[in-house]
Symmetry: C2
Subunit: 312 residues, 2 copies
């Protein structure tokens, strides 16, 4: 994969080139980082299940990574986040207006790149994902600090916000390869389940890691009023009285947040959350069943494992 990923990087590198003053530096800032390029890797692997057309897969993979990064840039504006992975966000380093424009510019380039697959069907999948992600982000924001949410709403939200893009990586790659309907469906399901596992682990790490490791404060989601799986489990176990309820109702937030973090860390809530993530991982692996046992399939299983194991 190294050689193919290098081509994706090279494509992203061409996107950063611009003679608009200041833009090149901004693009490099948000696109460099030490991203794991998980999504492009999934797209490239899925593109091996059929006719391997690297000249179409590379723009697909680059487009998805670009879209993903554009989303992060706008999310950081929306959440007023200062740091991500220990680096300054675009809104913090430049300003909100610049970050909005930067994200739009990246969306535009992602759209142009996806067209290079020459397939209206792939573009349709891409646009459906855009919609799911935008709806997921809106739902998260609109439901912030609303206490009466359950795990079903959480799963629905992260399906849109995160899993849909993972699904598109795998589905898009398989479509470009001209895979059979059955294989495309299997790979889409794989992506969806890996994406669910990925987001759940992300939400666990928000409670588990310390600030140093994570590059952002512990419990930052809850502080923003976003209910993730560990917080929801805490509420389920203590329906009548719990620090989340107090946090959402009260102004003395820091104290309640610290209590919530303590209770979550000193219980089996994170273990249970990991068990849920592993369920999705297991499903991701299981749905690959119809595919031939190639090294690429094994690599997809490795990615599903990695998503659970990762520490950031």
């Amino acid at each position: 994969m190294q050689e193919e990923l290098a081509q994706v990087e090279a494509t992203l590198e061409t996107v950063t080139r611009s003679d608009i003053p200041g833009l090149q530096g901004m693009l490099q800032h948000v696109l460099s980082g030490e991203g794991k390029r998980l999504r492009p890797t999934i797209a490239l692997l899925a593109g091996r299940f059929g006719e391997h057309r690297l000249e179409l897969l590379v723009p697909l993979a680059a487009s998805i990574e670009l879209l993903h990064t554009a989303t992060l840039v706008h999310d950081d504006v929306i959440d007023a986040s200062d740091t991500r992975r220990g680096r300054l966000t675009a809104n913090a380093r430049y300003h909100n207006a610049a970050a909005v424009m930067l994200g739009d510019y990246m969306f535009a380039h992602a759209a142009a790149l996806i067209c290079r697959t020459e397939s209206i069907e792939v573009v349709k999948v891409f646009s459906r994902t855009l919609m799911a992600m935008a709806a997921g982000e809106l739902t998260q924001d609109m439901s912030a600090y609303q206490y009466g949410q359950g795990t079903m709403q959480y799963f629905h939200r992260i399906a849109g916000k995160t899993a849909s893009l993972f699904a598109t990586c795998a589905e898009g790659g398989a479509m470009v390869a001209g895979a059979s309907k059955e294989w495309i469906e299997a790979l889409r399901n794989y992506g969806e389940n890996v994406g669910m596992a990925f987001q759940i682990v992300d939400d666990i790490l928000d409670f588990e890691g310390d600030e140093e490791e994570l590059g952002k404060p512990t419990g930052s989601d809850l502080m923003q009023g976003t209910l993730t799986l560990p917080a929801l489990l805490l509420m389920e176990r203590n329906p009548d009285d719990n620090p989340v309820k107090k946090l959402f109702r009260n102004k003395r937030r820091r104290e309640h947040l610290a209590e919530a973090i303590f209770m979550i860390q000193n219980s089996d809530i994170l273990d249970e959350s990991y068990a849920v993530a592993r369920d999705f991982r297991d499903r991701a692996v299981a749905v690959l069943e119809p595919l031939p046992g190639t090294p690429e399939r094994a690599a997809l299983v490795d990615i599903a494992d990695y998503v659970i194991r990762r520490r950031r």
Copy 2:
């Protein structure tokens, strides 16, 4: 056109439907207004030069209007504008974060709608326009309060920011109709020139109209540090000493702005600006030459005239 425009409205109306709390109201707020739907009209008319396929033209026209409105929503965040056409902007009525998400959601829907043309070539034109518009907006912001700009930079900027979308309306309509290369090119050129005329008149009105009529303060572009044609002509005529130079250098902005507005209004600068806009209008009409003399062609000429005549 009334019947066809009603179908575009109906399509936009379906976009506003959503069960995400609060979203429907936000979408209705930004999409209703008394927009002239100029861009959809151009797309619908261009789609008459060939095989008339209304089922593809309506999503195209709706997509373009949606993209246009999404751009306005983000522009108002970027410029921190409170009002547009006398109504509160989304960022003023809700908040910045909501307006960013709203714009992204509308971009996503615009992408989904454009896919309904079933043509990867049309989607490519759409994505190129996205890029041109994003680059135009970035260039405008990055060059704000920079004095050393000339009219060429201005024309280049508005070509990206505004004319590219008008060009896409006409080109997209003609492509959907399966028009000949020559006709597609003619209509694209028409759109580009009408778009240039449109933006120049917009920039004239910013100096000409009073606040009541315009729904925003007179000279608001200049106040934001954006050099438009009237301001550039003022600078050209008074290269050594002029209120724009002072405005960009000084903090006592209100006073210099008032002086600039006075000098522009009490000279032939606005007449000259109109003459430039009319040149683009004349070119828009001239490039329609290869097309047959149908009522649709006459309607396109009427639109070009209207763009010059309009008062807001």
